[in-house]
Symmetry: C2
Subunit: 230 residues, 2 copies
């Protein structure tokens, strides 16, 4: 029961609507998950107790245990909320374009917008290493992450075949490079800084196109990409 409750508690909010992949608002999370997200961000998974989470959420331990089997279950729910959101964004962003350069640009933009929309939720992805390896939900989470990677790898391979991209080395390693750069946005981006989410997302899309050796003529909208879209 607790595990199925996890899923039903988060699934409604987690999937981005197809046309909404450029939205910059954080995902709405139930109170206990929002509290856990803050706690994990402030003190890490092992530095947070289930009592800390209940206290931050202002709920009793029995209420918290009604929804989540244990702290691992809460971590799973947060990881899945973040990953299903980015997967939904990336799918929609790719559908919104046709050529490999446009699709890569959109996909990178979608990932960076996911990072900046909720820095704390995006940072929780780093806590995956604390999820038990035999946790039955681990496979589902890793499956979603693999789907994101596969979608991008497919774009890179189609772009190489079409002559749009020039990647000399290992395609998967180029992909890790791109995704790593995007993931690290959570460590330096501040909403109060001078750069808007759309500006960062646009400039990361352009840099990613360069990184995979996109010919300048194939780079979509580079002249306007560093301008906020909305």
């Amino acid at each position: 029961m607790p595990r199925s409750s996890n899923v039903s508690e988060t699934s409604a909010e987690a999937e981005a609507a197809p046309g909404d992949w450029r939205q910059i608002e954080p995902i709405a999370l139930p109170g206990t998950l929002a509290a856990a997200k803050d706690a994990f961000h402030d003190r890490g998974f092992h530095g947070t107790s289930i009592r800390d989470i209940a206290a931050r959420a202002g709920v009793s331990l029995p209420t918290l245990y009604y929804h989540h089997e244990n702290k691992q279950g809460i971590l799973v729910a947060l990881l899945e909320a973040g990953m299903s959101s980015v997967l939904g964004r990336v799918r929609a962003a790719i559908s919104d374009a046709t050529t490999p350069p446009e699709q890569l640009s959109n996909a990178v933009e979608a990932i960076v917008l996911h990072m900046t929309a909720d820095l704390e939720l995006a940072s929780v992805a780093r806590e995956l290493r604390y999820l038990d390896h035999d946790n039955p939900h681990r496979q589902h989470y890793v499956g979603m992450r693999t789907e994101v990677e596969d979608l991008l790898e497919d774009i890179l391979r189609r772009g190489i075949d079409s002559g749009d991209f020039q990647i000399e080395g290992d395609v998967k390693e180029s992909l890790r490079y791109l995704l790593g750069a995007c993931q690290e946005v959570t460590t330096w981006y501040h909403p109060s800084g001078t750069r808007s989410p759309a500006e960062v997302a646009g400039s990361y899309a352009v840099t990613s196109l360069h990184a995979v050796g996109a010919r300048p003529s194939t780079q979509p909208g580079t002249s306007t990409r560093t301008t906020p879209r909305s």
Copy 2:
């Protein structure tokens, strides 16, 4: 006294010898710091007690407190050991080249080799957010990190001036992109995998040159860069 002991305990090992910037061995750390590094990696800063560190190191609490004022002091010593190592490598790598593309290639290679040489030590950099903002050593650490960033920014700006690099947007954001990609190596690299540190470092150097719009003719040694050097 404890803080000056921190420094003397680590400084001898921390600075890479100038000619050694391509070495792939982990930094030798005193036993207590090696134990703390493992503990922080396994459970995070707040998930680790000073007793855990003493137990892992096989020393008494008084012995540990003789060298380090508290857990924050241990974190400082680890952060400084990692950062002074990468700073030493980057300085030496840049001195070992003349043109901006060669220097960028060397610098990225040096940073990735730092990451792969000791994944756990390199990961400790993420724990900076748990270092008290009024810790007197924070400024020294951040100063070293800023020096690494400034060295790379200087290369990018000289490369733009010389026409070697084509960066359309913000130079600092391009730099964050490169450094982020390198930092994330710690999250996916496994020494037991198919890629050697030199191979990953070489391919990251090539991808970084692409990312900053290096003209193919200016990219040093790209045809051999994915081959291990030693």
